[in-house]
Amino acid sequence: MNSQMEQGPRFRHFVSPGPSVSVTLDGQALELPFGVMLAAALLDRGIATFGVSVTKGEPRGPLCLMGTCLQCNVLVDGIPMRACRVAVRDGLVIERRLDPLPPSPREVPRG
């Protein structure tokens, strides 16, 4: 994993979270507390970058955490979902989009 992607605020849980379960993030195994909001669980692990912006590829992370801003969208078991709306459970396969989505090459027709 790109180390730059793991920069960000460290979070801590002041309430003891539940038992840990195994998930994968971008193909790597990770232990996260069961039942916790996925976005909070990832932030707890120092993961603040949830993807990159579509054209410029700049790091983006959760903003509103209320389901409105869609900035925390990740692929959960292959389906794009808001990480603020997903509870951690065993075996989640989480993928972040870490490359921009460049538009199709345009043709510049010669008249």
Partner: protein, 466 residues
């Protein structure tokens, strides 16, 4: 529960919960639809069992959820259910995470869509580690707080509440940056109408002072810096219209920034239903027009709570009682009269609260200058990477309405569909064309209300999905 389908309540926050419980306790069945798995909305959010010394955690939610559970025979609570669309004939199109899909044609719909946070873009606001004030509070309610130092910036009551809460959790705050000045005498007079609420606010401010956290009034964020994530926040004074003056800048190192300029009503549902809207900065901007019975311009569609105009949790609870009575009367339920006394008391409470909110808005509702803090290369639309420069260029070329700006620049056409940037663009368009924000109508709303996977809209068995 065939009767439950006659009255549908959308949104299980304070207003929706209050309405559903009032109806059910009066023996009137209803359907309560919410996209969360636990009722409560943002204010009464179910979450971690928090230590008792954290201020301002509203513990009434647990009691309401207990009553909701006890009324399960009269309240068809559809959890995790997205409303894809609503039309002027009140037909609801639902998509549940449990795969329950379909349409509901209630006689009366009560919309309680709540509020969303209002942002004003500044350079660097797209960096990871920048959260909404509300977002940080959601995390706190989930039991997670950032390791400090943290800067909180913006305006409105949430700024102080969150500051006091983080302090109580032992988080180091580098600064609290408030664009508002000290409230004027008129605002103070209005706020004294609710002495308990005012006292609570003053106690929060006292907690900030006691913790020796710098509280900068009439200041706002100029820029947020960091390589890959927030490292430093630069602030500067603002003038009376909240425009940055650029003098005497100060920098604060931090690992997280909470940012937010108050709340605005979540108007997507009421726009989709075709209801009339009006603009009032004191209510959070665009909001649905309502009759005294809280009915929108579309007959049999009622709206209650912050989603109709931001007035806070006490008003939302009061409106829940009012709208429960109105819905019972409209469906001619024989038990309607039993809801009248609570509704009458709620009306009196609302009148006092309105004065309080007027004072609060006069003090802290965002002024237009704050939307000018974006520099030319600052992203306005975070989803599609559209900069202030691109918006300004389209405005200069004469694309002044929201639809044309969208199609021209793609701002608001990404994943969030303009839920973050539409109010910002509205202000930029108003300022550039010399109009009041009220003269820049919102773009048309179209289903789905939120992005949903194609399968959720398709008439295919779920297993057919690859």
């Amino acid at each position: 529960m065939a009767d439950a389908a006659r009255i549908a309540i959308i949104g299980a926050g304070p207003a929706g919960l209050a309405a559903a419980i009032a109806l059910a306790e009066a023996g009137i069945a209803c359907t309560l639809i919410d996209d969360n798995r636990e009722a409560g909305g943002q204010i009464f959010r179910a979450g971690a069992a928090l230590p008792p010394d954290i201020p301002g955690i509203d513990r009434r939610g647990r009691e309401l959820r207990r009553r909701l559970a006890a009324l399960a025979s009269r309240i068809d609570h559809r959890r995790g259910t997205e409303v894809v669309a609503i039309d002027a004939e009140r037909k609801l199109w639902l998509a549940g995470e449990d795969g329950r899909r379909g349409e509901l044609p209630p006689d009366v719909v009560i919309l309680c869509p709540g509020a969303v946070e209002l942002f004003a873009p500044v350079p660097g606001w797209t960096l990871p580690g920048v959260f909404g004030l509300g977002g940080l509070q959601v995390l706190l309610k989930a039991g997670a707080v950032p390791e400090g130092p943290v800067v909180l910036a913006g305006a409105g009551p949430l700024l102080r509440l969150l500051a006091a809460q983080l302090i109580a959790c032992g988080v180091e705050l580098a600064a609290v940056v408030d664009a508002s000045p000290l409230p004027g005498p008129g605002a103070v007079a209005d706020m004294t109408r609710e002495p308990a609420l005012l006292a609570r606010g003053l106690a929060l401010e006292a907690a900030i002072v006691r913790a020796r956290v710098p509280l900068l009034r009439r200041h706002a964020v100029v820029a947020i810096e960091g390589a890959g994530a927030v490292e430093c926040v630069e602030v500067a004074p603002v003038d009376s219209e909240w425009r940055l003056t650029g003098r005497s800048r100060r920098q604060f190192r931090c690992t997280a920034l909470g940012l937010g300029y108050g709340l605005r009503p979540n108007v997507e549902l009421t726009l989709l239903a075709g209801a009339e809207h009006a603009f009032d900065p004191a209510l959070g901007g665009w909001h649905v027009r309502r009759s005294p019975d809280l009915e929108s311009s579309v007959r049999n569609i009622f709206v209650a709570g912050d989603g109709a105009g931001v007035q806070g949790v006490e008003a939302a609870l009061a409106e829940g009682a009012i709208v429960a009575y109105a819905a019972a009367v409209r469906t001619a339920h024989p038990n309607a009269a039993s809801l009248y006394p609570a509704a009458a008391r709620a009306r009196e409470r609302l009148a006092r609260l309105a004065r309080f909110r007027r004072g609060l808005a006069a003090w802290s509702a965002p002024r237009a200058g704050i939307f000018d803090a974006a520099r030319p290369d600052t992203f306005v639309c975070r989803c599609e990477d559209v900069t202030r420069r691109e918006i300004d260029a389209a405005l200069a070329a004469g694309f002044g309405d929201m639809r044309a700006l969208k199609l021209r620049t793609r701002a608001g056409m990404g994943l969030c569909q303009g839920r973050v940037c539409a109010p910002i663009i509205q202000h930029l368009a108003a300022a550039a064309t010399g109009r009041a924000p009220a003269e820049v109508p919102l773009p048309t709303a179209r289903p789905p209300l939120r992005p949903v996977p194609a399968t959720a809209l398709a008439d295919l068995p779920m297993e057919a999905a690859p």
